[in-house]
Amino acid sequence: MAVLVIAENTNDELKDATLSAVTAAQAFGGDVHVLVAGSGCAPVADQAAKIAGVAKVLLADDPAYDHGLAEALSALVISLADGYDQLVTPAGTMGKNFMPRVAAALDVAQVSEAVEIVDANTFKRPIYAGNAIATVKSSDAKKVVTIRPTSFDKAPGEGGSAAVEPVAKVDAPALSSFISQELNESDRPDLSSADVIISGGRALGSAENFEIIERLADKLGAAVGASRAAVDAGFVPNDYQVGQTGKIVAPKLYIAVGISGAIQHLAGMKDSKIIVAINKDEEAPIFQVADYGLVADLFEAVPELEKQIG
């Protein structure tokens, strides 16, 4: 039978994480179908149809799916589940929100944030903030899996020519409604898929001071991240948080500035290819994972770095 990948998308764009989910889904061996749910999201379905290795795209285009409300989206996926042995979606805030509802309805355990699909029943997943990797075997007939996008290559976004098949809206009781959103628009690359990330911590001291991180990021074409402490202090918005309970990133280059390196922060970035740490405390734990460590005052080192890159 086939695998259903539930796409992560805005109504006009497929998120890269979906490409990683397709690669993960291929490990099960069956045909891969992609469900695109949204409102006015037909262009996303066309994009999904071009992914190499996708056999069919299901398009649920209805105002009910506009904001990905968990109740509506899970009802839709549950209605399609009969036709699939495995259901896979990226472990972003969207997948984490609706997928456990699907698992509960099907009476199966969800495998959260799989980093490897060993075989059709066996998965590797991080536990304890990534301080251990568990291999778990599922005894459920159907598998409901969220995958960690940084652990799977992106399937090529070109080369496929799947058919797009519309699916009707599934009636679900209107238990919740969308009121508003505050999305952080920026011209910088997306944190979850950027090649270079520069993150700042508590040491930055204020939102104004944080601008030196942003300036350096713009020079490098990098995304900006932060520690929890910097977010809690209000220097930057919540979606900048990297870590166990924020975003998991694995860029080619990660520069941690004024971040101590608590395990919860390391959990989110230690799979980065090259890690640079700038911290004035030579004992800071961040240096234990850094490829290049610089003991310096960030307020001198960061502007200097910006100048030298220039």
Partner: protein, 248 residues
Amino acid sequence: MKVLVPVKRVVDYNVKVRVKADNSGVELANVKMSMNPFDEIAVEEAVRLKEAGTATEVVVVSIGPKQAQETIRTGLAMGGDRGILVEYDAETEPLAVAKLLKAIAAEENPDLVVLGKQAIDDDCSQTGQMLAQLLGWSQGTFASKVTPGDGTVDVTREIDGGLETIQLKMPAVVTADLRLNEPRYASLPNIMKAKKKEIAMKTPADYGVDMTPRLSTERVEEPPERQAGVMVESVSDLVAALKEKGAL
């Protein structure tokens, strides 16, 4: 309004866990255990609703070993009214916990169940959502603000792109994110008072829930170690090193 808060006893967030030599799990002997940090935030939110006059009773529930009574007591010292411990010695899975919580909700009839968004041991982030599905209720996950209205509750959620506010019909399930509030430390008098609060002792059998795990842990390993790096002396050395690596 009645609020139910499920709290999990987990390895304290400051402990760096070690994998057992035989790869069967992580070392839990003589390790400090605490309330899951997100559940502290959940308890705090429930207690604030009570202090604001919105909630009338806060019931703290845990599924775990006898020692999880201490975890419940912590919640009672923060301001919870009474506790329920469903005694179970092995590891719990979110699906089974959600089934137990559904049964407890059927007896207690809460208007709101506030959970943590994630247990920091299994890092599953499933239980609240599963409970909402099993109950046929609405859900507001990863909450950074909770504002009850008339038969509804507005929840601001931390999502990948920023923040989103949704309105839920009550009864509802909410899961707490880090920025929802800053949990209080229980005062000594409140810790003393909590000792006298009632904790009902139950078992999974009382609720007819089968706890058999669906996922068996085959092996637990250390994550790949990172190679030790080098310290550079200056910004110019750093830039030179990164250029040499092709990283700049």
